[in-house]
Amino acid sequence: MSVFLKSLRDNRRGYLGWSVALTAVAAMYASFWPTLGQNPELTKAMDSYPQSLKEALNLQDMSKPENYLGTSVFGLLVPILLAVFAIAAGTKAIASDEEAGTLDLVLAHPVTRVKLALQRLLAIATALTLITGLMWLVVTALRGPSEFTSVSPGRILAVCVQLAFFGLFFASLAYAVGAWTGRKGLAIGAGAAVAVLAYLSDSFLPQVDGLKWIERFSPFEWYLGNEPLKNGISGTSLLIFAGLSAVFIALGTWRFNRRDVAV
């Protein structure tokens, strides 16, 4: 497990920083609930928005805390930031290291490429657990002070678990492109492109006539579509994320184990 432990150690500042930052964002939004959510003026203003815009922006009846949390806390900024973290971490696992010329030395040691790649991925999975775990603890702790006790800790856990799998999906994608090509730019580009497409196909594109179906293929839909804050964990969502991540990881690792390592 040397590679896994070293990977955690090398990235400790980043992992802790992202955990604190993402949790702070979630906590800040959550603590606004008493001011924003229970504000009748705001609810009235939002009622006047066209239905399509409300759907596109994932705005729902803001008088219920689970809707507020689903929209503002877990709906936009947090998953987008987590995707950014996941793409950066997945890229760093192989492609960044390779482009920096620092991969050679480790590979000249008695460690197989597969073992190296999988242990680094395990470190990323650990980081995702740390980030979403801390977020769960802090948001759960805010239930009393911020007056959303009607949302159970189990439901908050459900959305955090689905968030972690959402992150795993993007980390695996960026890892796979990076491990396949050895190119940092391609890995980040592919991850960012999929993230943008994923967001659009869950927000604006389904509003276009005849494009409603596209929603079903969006990672944002897999992440929040079943409304985990109301309905708990969706096994289907986790299965889709886990399955696709496994395919990405398998393909990237397969190719990485066969190709030349760049100078």
Binding site: T102, D104, L105, L107, H109, P110, V111, T112, D260, V261
Partner: protein, 293 residues
Amino acid sequence: MVIQTENLRKRYGRGTEALKGLNLSVNEGEVFGFLGPNGAGKSTTIRILLDLLRPTSGTVSVLGQSPHGNAAMRQHIGYLAGDFVVNGRQSGHELLRYLGRLRGGVPQARIDELAALLDLDLSKKIGSLSKGNKQKVGVVQAFMHRPKLLILDEPTSGLDPFLQQQFVRLVREASANGQTVFMSSHVMSEVQQTCDRVGIIRAGELIAVEHINDLRAKAFRKVEVRFQAAVDLPNIAGVRDEHWDGNVWRAQLTGDADALIKAIAPHHVVDILSEEPELEELFFSYYQTGEEK
């Protein structure tokens, strides 16, 4: 045979062929110098030996095994590149402990011994070290586990002359210890001081393999003899470009010095100076003849 390649070819994508049928044999316990101009295929060969690159065709064996996917084999190899780069946000200690663990543990005493020999502070962050000091960290990680085979790719680039000398000492120690060293280098003095044999690669092919002593015999050295007074010297075998400068006679000598010594012996010789043979120019002639082909 510690390293053996047969008809080894490497083509990058559809592009240039970096190795065009390389046949290389390195014996156990020898120090083999691998020389050639930039872009000749030295690093490509080394990267194939380490399984960082996969050959297009041909066979390669390292320590009697194929390097392909063979992590266990790398247990017995120490590798150092000329541009030793690692994540700079770790101390030398931290990196060496990690690399040692990948090898199943290296005694701390051995690491400290090497660091002391090279006058290297391992507690500093690697990013804050000078290029030369970074390279020393590289030297330590390559030698620390006393590998059966050292693969060194222009190892002393960036090291000052004192450290080059320490490096030569380490290579000689390793050799005396029965370890095999395969080293590419541009620094002729270290090649001359360490290598038993050298192979010269040009444009992806090995064009010559020579014992260093045979090369020495072929190379010329500058000779300077100061006489009491100018004398008439006969034609001397192996001597060329002779000229007088007052009472000082200068010339270039190739091979055996016996004829020269006997020719000057009857005269009053005040002083005699013979330089280390200059292999650099000899290699240069090897490199060049190829380009003219």
